[in-house]
Structure formats: C-alpha cells, structure tokens
C-alpha cells in the first residue's frame, strides 16, 4: 500500500490494521496478508495497493478496500 494523498492513506491503513485481525479467523476462506510497500509508482492516483505482485488498485477508499478483500477471500485458493 502506498499513498499519494497522505491523509487518505492513513485512513486506509487504519482499516487494514483491523483487517489483519479479521483475516486470521480461519473460516476456510482465503487468507489475505497485508504488507506495507513504500511506493508503487502510482502517486497521481494514490492511495494504491497491489495484489500478488500483479494486480494494481488505485484511488483506494475504505469501501473499495472492503469490497476488494471480500472478493479476494472468496476466490478458491
């Protein structure tokens, strides 16, 4: 996760901290691990995040982040 807009990034990071607790629940769904990343080269559209070294998401909001995580957890491992 990286940020072009500092305050927005902080809000998403707060959300992530909560998610880390959730993802350890172990209910059979796919586990999501979060790692901070310094920069993804997407500063004009921050905050940004990358899934599995490939898929990029930009202008991440708390709501879009939650939707993304829901989607990711549903995919069969």
């Amino acid at each position: 996760l990286t940020g072009g807009s500092i305050s927005a990034t902080e809000r998403v990071v707060l959300r992530e901290t909560r998610l880390e607790a959730v993802s350890l629940g172990g209910d059979g769904s796919r586990q999501v691990t979060l790692e901070p990343v310094y920069c993804l080269g997407q500063c004009a559209c921050g905050p940004a995040l990358m899934v599995d070294d490939e898929r990029l998401e930009v202008r991440v909001t708390a709501a879009s982040f939650d939707n993304l995580v829901e989607d990711l957890r549903e995919v069969a491992p």
Binding site: G4, C39, C43, A44, M50, E57, V58
Partner: protein, 515 residues
C-alpha cells in the same frame, strides 16, 4: 467498417480498468461486426482521464475518458463522435497536453510501447545511427554540448561523467541504469519503462558506445512488475533485430543488457548502495571517492544514470545537441518531465522546458487541489526535498533557482498538500523515514535520525520547546555536514523547511503569544 482504437497498457490505466474496457470494446466490436484494430498504447499521462480511449479519425486522434465498461456500447452507438459526453475532442488539442513540450515523452501515449516498428516509425534508433558514425569522444562531446544534467536528482552534467568513464582505461566497463524510482510523487521512470522501453535501451546503448562498455544493467524496483516485463520483452526484441548483442547493426561493436530487480530499500537508489546491491551484497553506501565512474560496478569504470537521463540521449544524438539545448533557462537546459501528485485535481505527467513556475504547474496544469481546499505546501524532489509554502510558488523551476531557496528539483516529483495537513507531523515523518531507511554506515544518519524523532516529539509535546528547537537545528547541521550520502545529508531539508515555513504547527507561535 474498420475502426482503430487506442486503449493504454500503462499500469495506472490498467489499475483504473483499461483491460476490462479493452475486453468490452473487443466484444462489442465482434457483436456489431466491426473490423476493430485495437492498439494498446502507452499513457498520455492525464491520469484523471484514464482509461483514456482514443479513436483514429482522418483528422487525427480523438479522446474519450474516463471510459468505464458501461460506457462502451454507448460509444459505439454514438459512432465515437464528438457529441458523446465523454469526448474531449482532438487528443493533442487538450490544453494539458497542448501546453506541454513533449520532447523526451514525444512518443509516450502515441505508440504501442512494445512495437519496434512503431518505435522506428517515430524517430526510434535515429540517435543510435548517428552515434555509430561517431567515435566515443564525439558522442561524449555531443552530450556535453546539450547541457544534459543527471535527471535522478543530483543534476550533475551527464557528459562530464561519461567523459571520466571514457578516459579511464579498463578491459571491462559497465553502463548501469538506476531505475529504483522511489521518490514520493514520482512515476516518470515507470512511464518510460512501461510506455517507451526502447528509448531507454537506445540511450543506454549510446552510452555504451560512448565509453566502450560491453554490458549493462537496469536496476528496476521489484514493485514495478509491468515495467520489468516490458523491458525484458523489448530487450529480447531489440536483440533479435540487431540493436543489441555482439554486433550492433553490423558495426562490429557489441552491447548486452539485462534487468535486475531491486532490493526494495530506498537507500538502494543511492548509486553506490545500488552497486553493492547489484553485486549481490547488502545495499550499503560506499565512501566517495573513488567515483563510480572510475571504480564502479565490480570495481570497473561505470556510467550510472537515471532512466530519464538515458531516455533524453537518443533525441540529443538524433536531432543534435543544439536542438535540446535550445529548451530551458540558465544552466538548466532541455526539458524535465514533471510529475503532479498528491492532493491535486489533475495529477499526471507534465513535460516542459525548465523555467516555468511552480504555481503554473500547480494551477494551470494541476487545476488546484483535489479537495478544493487551498494548497498550503508542496514537497518537491522526493522524501528528502524541502516543503515549500505558497510564498515560494513563483520560483522558476530550474536547478539554481531552487538551490537558492534551499530546495531541490530532484526527479521532478511534486506532492501537493492542502491546509488540513499538520506540517510538524510531516517533519517528524521525514526523520522517522531516515531512521527506518538509513543504511547505518555513518553515525549522523543512523543515530541522528533516531535522536531527531525524539527531539521533534519533545517539541510537539511542548517540553522545553525553545531549547529543543535549537537542539534540532544543531542536529540537522551535523547531519547535513557529516553524513556520507544524501539520505542523512538531505533529511534536514524537509524537517527544517517545515519548521521555518510553518512554525505555528510546531507550537512556536502559540508559545510566543503565551509569553
């Protein structure tokens, strides 16, 4: 009916849904029996309009954006006409683009990045052909003449560096591209690598011919998978076509190139730490001298430049040094691809000659803040660059004018910040960043940054504020004077500029009033 459309493959466009739009366009064309020629070009750098779809017309390309999957059928219904609400008219007449001087970025957004034919049809490899007609000294003279200075941040004349490598005898020399782009607010290197990789390859090949180097490395951030893929594919294609390899275009001179993934540490963007990392060691800064131009990679003379520096070279050789030199002001010649980021309405890539003001960039191009609040400060030149208040926004963008106000242009990245941000917390973050990212080799940076965070914390909690501000200034002086590299040596820039320009955020004004 035949239809030519352009949808970018740049990673920002992909993040905003370009692949989904491209798939929807292809499906819609098939459904309607339209003979579609779909080009996946680079990005024009107007990121608030991505995914930007362009249609080829007899009078040039016309732009639509930002296009969502749901817009695709409607665009076909409207026959991609000017009446569609997403239409911006002729792409090159969009003011954001029209007001720029796209010199290095001339092809970016126009061509298919991985098509060598496209590259050749747009002046590609014209510079290399000129270079092959010259000897090393002739190429170096041309680069010196152009006035090109290193675009990574330090602004050292590129040709002088090359001359040193040329003049240092060795059986093996190297050309290394520092593509560990990690400054906040920057993405121009990424765009070159993803959207015009042959330009970087050509620039490095010309450097190799200039100094008689036989092998080169591109040290790319591991977090740039799209750039890595584009470079690897372009290198393979260039090799097949004889633009790289043992015998470049039948000249008898050879140059080979490989991509290396960076180690994921900010310090590895410092050139000597990068060399250590390339050698397979931990990224720790080397003391200079000796300069890398004399004792560089594996102890051999090495040309090290940033992506934009190398990318500027093909045109300098192709059109001549004077063409490039005629852009710019004072000792800042040519153009700089500025990058507008942070809290800005129209974030993106703006290439212009040096000499424009910061205010013109922020308002004429950027359109002001995204939040609609006043832009209170900008940070220019990455995490080690100074914070500039509104009173400095009329400073012309050139290396010397910025040095004169205690700031740096760096790699041209601009992060806009509105009036809701606490600048004292930004100053603390700068120190914390240094504490986290310091390689630890020298004391002022390793210890100074940790003590710096503590001192700022005392200031922010109001403990002996005046004495601690004096202590902070003292500490910053030690870091500037005593650090081995820019990491510790420049961390005081954001810290002190925040303190000097925004003392009220540090509680200084309140204290004065209370007393």
């Amino acid at each position: 009916m035949s239809l030519t459309l352009y949808i970018p493959r740049d990673s920002t466009a992909l993040a905003l849904g370009a692949d989904r739009v491209a798939a929807a366009v292809a499906a819609e064309a098939a459904k309607r029996g339209v003979d579609l020629h779909l080009v996946r070009n680079g990005s024009r750098g107007m990121f608030w309009l991505e995914p930007l779809l362009e249609v080829a017309t007899p009078t040039g390309r016309v732009a639509f954006g930002p296009v969502a999957v749901a817009d695709v059928a409607g665009l076909f219904d409207a026959d991609f006409g000017a009446g569609h609400p997403l239409c911006h008219g002729a792409t090159e007449a969009i003011p954001y683009l029209q007001k720029q001087q796209r010199v290095t970025f001339a092809r970016i957004g126009v061509t298919d990045p991985l098509s060598l034919d496209d590259y050749l049809a747009h002046e590609g490899y014209a510079g290399l052909r000129q270079a092959l007609a010259l000897d090393g000294a002739g190429i170096v003279a041309e680069v010196i003449q152009s006035g090109l200075r290193g675009r990574g941040g330090a602004g050292f004349p590129a040709g002088i560096k090359w001359k040193t490598v040329l003049g240092t005898p060795a059986a093996q020399k190297y050309v290394v591209c520092n593509a560990d782009e990690g400054d906040s607010g920057t993405f121009s290197d990424r765009m070159v690598m993803e959207d015009d990789p042959y330009m970087l390859i050509e620039g490095m090949t010309i450097a190799a011919l200039a100094v008689a180097a036989s092998h080169g490395y591109i040290y790319v951030r591991a977090e740039y998978p799209h750039a890595i893929r584009a470079l690897k594919q372009a290198i393979a294609t260039a090799e097949e076509a004889g633009y790289l390899g043992a015998d470049i275009l039948g000249s008898g001179r050879g140059f080979t190139l490989e991509v290396r993934k960076a180690a994921g540490a900010y310090i590895c963007g410092e050139e000597t730490a990068m060399l250590e990392s390339l050698e397979g060691k931990r990224g720790i800064v080397r003391a200079k001298p000796p300069l890398p131009a004399v004792v560089g990679l594996f102890g051999q003379p090495t040309v090290i430049n940033n992506v934009i520096s190398f990318a500027s070279v093909p045109l300098i050789l192709g059109r001549g040094a004077t063409f490039y030199r005629d852009y710019g002001v004072g000792r800042s010649r040519g153009t700089l691809p500025f990058q507008l980021a942070g809290n800005i309405k129209h974030g993106g890539l703006v290439e212009t000659a040096f000499g424009l003001t910061l205010r013109e960039l922020l308002y004429d191009f950027g359109g002001g803040s995204l939040s609609g609040r006043p832009i209170r400060a900008v940070q220019m030149g990455g995490p080690l660059g100074a914070y500039l208040p509104e009173s400095r926004f009329d400073t012309p963008l050139d290396y010397e004018a910025f040095a004169a106000i205690g700031a740096v242009l760096g790699h041209g990245g601009i992060v806009a910040i509105d009036d809701t941000v606490d600048m004292a917390r930004q100053a603390r973050y700068a120190m914390e960043f240094c504490a986290i990212e310091s390689c630890g080799k020298c004391t002022p940076c390793r210890i100074g940054s940790s003590r710096g965070v503590e001192v700022i914390d005392r200031i922010l909690t109001g403990r002996e504020r005046t004495q601690n501000i004096t202590l902070l200034r003292d500490l910053c002086d030690t870091m500037v004077q005593g650090s081995l590299c820019a990491m510790g040596g420049m961390t005081p820039y954001p810290v002190l500029s925040a303190l000097n320009h925004f003392p009220e955020d540090f509680g200084v004004v309140m204290t004065a009033q209370a007393a």
